[in-house]
């Protein structure tokens, strides 16, 4: 008989087909989407930003590696800690001391992910946990924005400040458009904000590249399109309402959307599958909540920017969103 090797046949359970999509590949797609942003940041702020990002990555990946080794798990195959580090790096100021970025990466992964049981189980966005920790720890350093650099090779001396010690003052600091609007009543022209050659976190300055990124993510099905769209739409709706009613200049919806970290947050952080709702209805609610809180904090709060807190707060609400947006039963209940 031709079929003599039936002993080699493997038994398993259905299904025997599978999509090509895989978790490391999704993470890789998101990493790819950040590449243009990193290049633009190098162009605007100089190559120092690469060091900041690398420090955050080292903190994140190093922590995950050490912990997983201790727990005897095979680590790091899923790219997610790498992504957390990159994203954290992208939301830090360009002249942020490296030791702080490293600490932020470590805290983000440790407090934001590992204590929850690792990938997929965390309730809060790890990169944002890291940043929130840094912001509460070093409020001055993290609100010191470098002005766009003179040349590609210009590196702020603040980067290399000694661990545990204060960073030296930097001559070339600049307020962000949001800070100017809030604290000095100075509006930055909307077109300038859209183009992106402005003070701000490493990855957030170019709205156009971020939009390109989200188009790529959606095309690759790496994220649920409702989350970024819902978030931006909510900001547009709430800020327009306030703009029209109160005439507050900084409530201009275009300014609201393109300034600060809103687009970056909406595209890279509101889309984190782990910490946002699993249901499609929930995705809309999450976006609406983030949008509402961002507008509230920016226009009525004490901080110029509220994207990070808005997302963390909505992360905290996500278990409820999931719970109350479970899909309705097929055929209704007839129990």
């Amino acid at each position: 008989m031709k079929n003599s090797r039936t002993n080699d046949l493997v038994l398993s359970t259905s299904p025997f087909l599978h999509t090509d999509a895989s978790t490391p590949r999704i993470m890789g797609d998101v990493l790819l989407a950040t590449v243009p942003l990193i290049l633009a940041a190098v162009w605007i702020f100089g190559i120092g930003v690469l060091l900041v990002i690398s420090a955050a990555v080292a903190g994140a990946v190093g922590t995950e590696w050490i912990f997983n080794r201790a727990a005897k798990q095979s680590p790091l195959l899923d790219n997610s800690a790498l992504l957390t580090g990159v994203l954290l790096g992208l939301i830090l100021p360009p002249g942020f001391p490296l030791w702080m970025a490293l600490l932020g990466g470590a805290v983000g992964i440790g407090l934001g992910k590992l204590i929850w049981g690792g990938l997929g189980q965390n309730v809060f966005n790890p990169a944002l946990v890291g940043r929130a920790f840094l912001q509460a720890s070093f409020p001055t350093a993290i609100t010191t924005w470098n002005a766009p650099a003179e040349g590609l090779m210009q590196i702020s001396p603040r980067l290399f400040s000694t661990p545990l010690l204060q960073a030296p003052a930097d001559a070339t600091t600049a307020a962000t458009p949001l800070g100017l609007a809030k604290f000095s009543g100075e509006m930055t022209a909307v077109f300038k904000v859209i183009i992106g050659n402005i003070g701000g976190s490493i990855g957030e300055t170019s709205g156009i590249l971020i939009i390109l990124g989200v188009v790529w993510l959606i095309a690759r099905r790496a994220c649920d399109w409702r989350l970024p769209v819902g978030t931006v739409a909510a900001v547009a709706v709430f800020s327009s309402a306030i703009w029209l009613i109160t005439g507050k200049e900084n409530a201009n919806p275009l300014f609201m959307i393109f300034s600060g970290g809103l687009l970056f947050g909406a595209v890279f952080m509101c889309t984190d599958p782990v910490t946002t709702p699993t249901t499609s209805k929930g995705a809309w609610i999450f976006g609406a909540g983030v949008g509402f809180l961002v507008v509230l904090i920016r226009l009525y709060g004490g901080l110029p920017e509220g994207v990070m807190y808005a997302i963390l707060l909505m992360n905290a609400v996500t278990p409820y969103i999931n719970r109350y947006t479970q899909p309705k039963q097929f055929g209704g209940a007839t129990k």
Partner: protein, 210 residues
Amino acid sequence: MSNQPSVYEETLKGIWRENPVFVQMLGLCPALAVTNSAINGFAMGAASTFVLVGASFLVSMFRNVIPKQVRITTFIIIIATFVTVADFSLQAFTPALHKELGAFISLIVVNCLILGRQEAFASRNRLPFAVGDAAGMAFGFTLALIMVGGIREILGSGSFFGIPLFGDNFEPWVIMILPPGGFLTLGVLLIIFASIKKMRDKRKLVQIES
């Protein structure tokens, strides 16, 4: 009664084995609220010690004459008395410290550790044991407060009991003296204790097996 531990043992247990904060999770509010520096932790601990030992003393002394139905009320009256005394004294003698601790001195009244000790121990044991237990618990409590306060002060202000440790250029981790720092410090301490215990248990297991 033959196996009853000695006064000495009753005193020691509160320091580590039954530490009120780390093991029993009692008196957490003050353990976090005022512990943004070692000195505050120490002061709060001292005030609590005064109240706990004093109240235990009285409760144990009169344990046979206080009727059951009104015992809790009586305990509270006694505790509140000591707290008021502590509050006034701090206000009179160390006004600056009193300003730091604020309402939390008054809140010692409702500290579950103190009432709990009266109910669980002082009202059932002879005077020396009651005082020993109270002193041990209070000491453990104070130690925990100094520990939490110390860690938060060192990282958050770069000093310990007000003495600068890292020089003028230290970049403080402000979060440590803000509310989140309290929760995080205690959380991390608990992880460390749990890990130590886990390692010890493992070692014990190995010993038993071999």
